[in-house]
Amino acid sequence: MKPILTAESVTKSFGGRRVLSSATLRAVPGELRVMFGRNGIGKSTLLKIAAGWIPADSGAVHFNGRVYLSARLWQLAAAGLFYLPDHDLLSNAFTVRHQLEMIRRQFDGADVADAADRLGIASHLDKRPAQLSGGERRRAELAAVLVRRPTCLLADEPYRGIAPKDAEDLTAIFAALAADGVAVVITGHEVPTLLHAAHHITWCTAGTTYELGPPHIATQHDAFRREYLAVALGASGP
């Protein structure tokens, strides 16, 4: 299927240090794509550029049939994209219910109570995010995604700081979103969990990206195995 979102030939430098030299990110409807890469290699930067959260030095974002030379998140969001940052999507100034309801009304979205039930946060709806644990906050943020019903979801390290049980539940939600036709791209280091759930692996390394294909093919890629998998699995092993 054709990608709904493509961030193409992206370059980005910070303070003279080139982080991305020619990177591409694609999100395809019905696919859960996972972008792997070592810390500091530019995964989050590429995701932020694709979401219009930070500008690229060069490159373009194509979303839903339109080309954005300097994409802004509010533009892409209005067209169906949702960007889940690695922390702090929800404000501590309002309750979770208030924020989910704001999203629902903005986009004529899904029922707030249903989304909260599905994520197991129904009893926390009237709390502020600061009163929730890391895992509960992540669930609340994912409830926002369910309420929004986006066509494309970019989630940056959604597993950071959460318990293994929460990670399993989150993975099931991402897989369900993809099964519903949403184009999902996530980053993370939870190799076994993500390899099991992903339809497609993208490897971000040395300022560029490689489309490695389905997990069973990606894991046969020599350089990916040697330079990423061996390190990542070694770090998460006993």
Binding site: L73, A77, A78, L90, S91, F94, Q106, F107, A144
Partner: protein
């Protein structure tokens, strides 16, 4: 921005609350400086409105709401307009009161 009552209420209320706070502090400063806070020159009035909007954006950043607003498709300029409305209305009312008192 689509008309979303919850967003409008939340950000108009914040604009009003922070304008009251900002204006109160500035009025005390004007009084201490011997100026009448109800009869500010037009330039100073505009500066008060701009300062109120800046304070509102600082509060919005402090609450880390930029991603939430952007994900709702809300343009920053629309948020700024929501913050400016209560400050503008408040300043107009204060000028009217100042004119009536004199």
């Amino acid at each position: 921005m689509r008309s979303n009552r919850l967003v409008l209420q939340a950000y108009l209320f914040r604009g009003a609350r922070l304008w009251v706070g900002t204006r109160s502090i500035l009025s005390a400063v004007f009084l201490l400086a011997g100026a009448d806070p109800l009869r500010l020159p037009m330039v100073a009035t505009v500066e008060v409105v701009v300062l109120s909007v800046v304070v509102c954006f600082v509060e919005t950043n402090r609450n880390r709401e930029r991603a939430l607003l952007a994900n709702m498709g809300v343009r920053p300029v629309a948020v700024g307009a929501l913050f400016a409305v209560p400050a503008l209305v408040g300043e107009i009312v204060l000028r009217a009161v100042g004119a009536a008192v004199s």
